[in-house]
């Protein structure tokens, strides 16, 4: 969420003075975006290859709009104290110059991606996305898991009413935000939200946690998700005051930190493999969003090699780790790696692991963020034989679209 992004912060060489009056030259409006045949009811999917965007961040028009969906007693508490209002501004590795595209800011006064019409025009029509998976990050990680669980419920209720049930609802799907550190509440929320709307098609876990996510207390969440056929989606955020560190302390600059999303997801992937999450729940799928893809083959080899020598420690892992990953772990493309040496260098990283490109790599934009991707640029990095799968074929299988 980008409420309060940048505007309150002092001018110095660290901050680029943008033009706050610059708004989109694309007029908002319903602009003739035609909904698809509703594949929810008919079960019939269109024939052409779909473009499925696995990472889109809608935002409330303002904080109070969001707050109206948060259950008590937290709604009242948020008004006077305990507030996460304006939490989007922080010193915690902010993106210099702002984290959203200027043209995604609507003329309605809200932040980027707060207007479904403009989003539909830019994303569904302009970029050509057929179905977008909406990941709302408005519920910030907070120290008290019950508080975060309440914000999560508010986020889900808001998403359902304002986006999934809106005019373009049949082009949107949503992830059910839960607080991993309140597993009982998470399980209840998964049931509540999924029963309320089957346009919720996944469970969003924000990995601001202090034990890797394969840890035993998180298992009920995976069980609940797997039972309902919902993939678990992992997407990080950088909450003020709760920034995760690294094994060697805190980096200093944003440019050092963005590559490190890969390290965080690798940590949770390794944990889930070696704690037997994938073995225990063979129907569970986990989607790691915005962490990159090129590091995956190396990590799979490393896990396999270590497992060969250290199997006695984790006897419940009965297959090579790389097999679990290939079966049950998925990774979104944005921000797609662009080696200076060209796409061949990226393909070399996948040598011996090309099967991942046909199945485990899912296109995403990360709309409306500054480094969002579009399909034509992303697909340039891959051989043509994988295009349909990456563009949306693999995501269709994961999300059963």
């Amino acid at each position: 969420m980008d409420l309060g992004e940048n505007g309150d912060l002092p001018q110095s060489h660290l901050f680029r003075s943008g033009d706050p009056s610059m708004t989109s030259t694309i007029a908002p409006g319903s602009a003739g975006v035609r909904p698809h045949d509703d594949s929810d009811s008919s079960g019939e999917a269109p024939n052409h290859p779909l473009t499925i965007d696995c990472d889109v961040h809608p935002t409330p028009h303002d904080f109070d709009e969001f707050l109206s969906y948060v259950p008590e007693p937290w709604r009242s508490r948020e008004k006077m104290a305990f507030s996460t209002r304006g939490e989007g501004s922080s010193y915690s590795y902010y993106v210099p110059g702002g984290s959203t595209r200027k043209e995604a800011i609507p003329n309605t006064g809200g932040p980027a991606a707060s207007d479904p019409y403009l989003t539909a025009e830019q994303l569904l029509e302009g970029i050509g996305v057929d179905i977008a998976i909406l990941l709302s990050l408005v519920a910030r990680p907070v120290a008290n898991p019950k508080h975060e669980a309440a914000l999560s419920e508010g986020s889900n209720r808001w998403l359902e009413e304002r986006w999934l049930n809106g005019e373009f609802g049949n082009r949107f799907r949503g992830a059910i935000r839960v607080c991993a550190d309140a597993p009982d509440l998470a399980v209840a929320e998964i049931a509540r939200a999924h029963d309320a709307s089957h346009r919720f098609n996944s469970v969003l876990v924000v990995p601001s946690v202090l034990k890797p996510l394969g840890h035993e207390p998180y298992m009920p969440i995976y069980e609940a998700a797997a039972e309902r056929g919902l993939p678990v989606v992992m997407h990080l955020t950088r909450p003020a005051g709760m920034t995760l560190g690294t094994p060697v302390g805190f980096p200093q600059h944003f440019v050092e930190v963005q590559p490190m999303y890969s390290l965080l997801y690798a940590t949770h992937l390794v944990s889930m493999v070696f704690n037997g999450v994938f073995e225990r729940y063979p129907d569970l799928k986990v989607v790691y969003v915005e962490g990159g893809i090129a590091w995956l083959p190396s990590l799979m080899r490393r896990m396999d090699r270590n497992w060969e020598g250290l199997r006695s420690e984790v006897p419940w892992v009965v297959k090579p780790p790389s097999e679990y990953v290939a079966e049950q772990a998925f990774f979104t493309t944005q921000p797609i790696e662009e080696p200076l040496e060209g796409p061949d260098a990226l393909m070399e990283a996948f040598e011996g692991a090309e099967h991942l490109l046909a199945r485990n790599v899912l296109f995403s934009t990360d709309y409306p963020h500054w480094d969002a991707d579009e399909p034509r640029w992303v697909l340039r990095q891959f051989p043509a034989e994988y295009h349909d799968a990456i563009r949306g074929g693999s995501a269709r299988a994961v999300y059963k679209l």
């Binding site: 060489h13 094994p247 390290l263 965080l264 390794v270 704690n275 921000p335 080696p339 990226l346």
Partner: protein, 327 residues
Amino acid sequence: MIGRYFYPPSIPEWTPIGEDDARPATSSPELLADSWDVAVGTDGAILVPLTRGLIPEPDLGPAVCSATNAWLRDKWLDHSALRDRVAGAVRVDPEDADAAIAELERVAGDPRFVTVAVPLQGREPYGSRRYVPVWRKAAELGFAVTIVADGGCGINQFPTMAGYCDHYVEYNSLLPWTAAMVHLASFVGGGVFEEVPDLRVVFLDGGADVVFPFMWRMDKPWRGVRYQVPWIEKHPTEYLVDHVRFCVQRAEGAALPAASLTSLATELTVYGSRYPHWDAITPAEARAGLAPDAAEKLLGGAADFYGGRFARWAAELPTRPGLPVSQ
């Protein structure tokens, strides 16, 4: 006696002396010398003593390092059976820049100390500004900086990006390379390679297999957020070949670790066994699957990168007869 390392592997951590003697095979210079051709199998080796981690007491850390260096020199580098084939890493505590600089100056006259070693599990990423004087002095005195996994008895940050993992197999699948990547990003992000153009860094515990996938993700935002960090003068990946190397690791490949690395990554590898660690890699394992000239470069090319004192030592190194590969 240092207590147990806090993430003990489920199998013996090091190659033992023998079936009846669980002490590490490098417990004595005589043993090492006797088993050299089979266990080590190179013309020369750098001895990297461990100090087992960050010591919070400000004076104790540098003192332990000095004592370690003196012990290494007296018991190992001076030993008649090893003198013709070993050199040493000088330990410094990067937390005390003044003490570290003093230690480097103290040993500078001894050509058998050929590299500086600091722990991988640092308190802060090593590109942070307060460490730069240490790197500057190291480069000035002709030392490359060796970063070696060495923690667990003192204080530590959490070993993963999300707290404590439960199992050693997770730890070993994550810490060596994730910590290396954070340090590397920090060296670049802090402009250290610009400020100390002769600085060379070697990560003893690997990372070559992920360094380009990781650093591509730093290249990409750099062009856009460059103005916040204008001391970074070029793409982060463009610093690698001049400043960074990784020891090839047994865990980093399929059956043939070095051969499974990409062409870009291969250029950044050097050979180091980490003997007597349980997953040490022998020269034969390291060179498996490589073409002969690539194998030569891997096993013998370290001197070209380290330069300085290491290169002078390597140049004097006699070739050991009867080894399958030469240095």
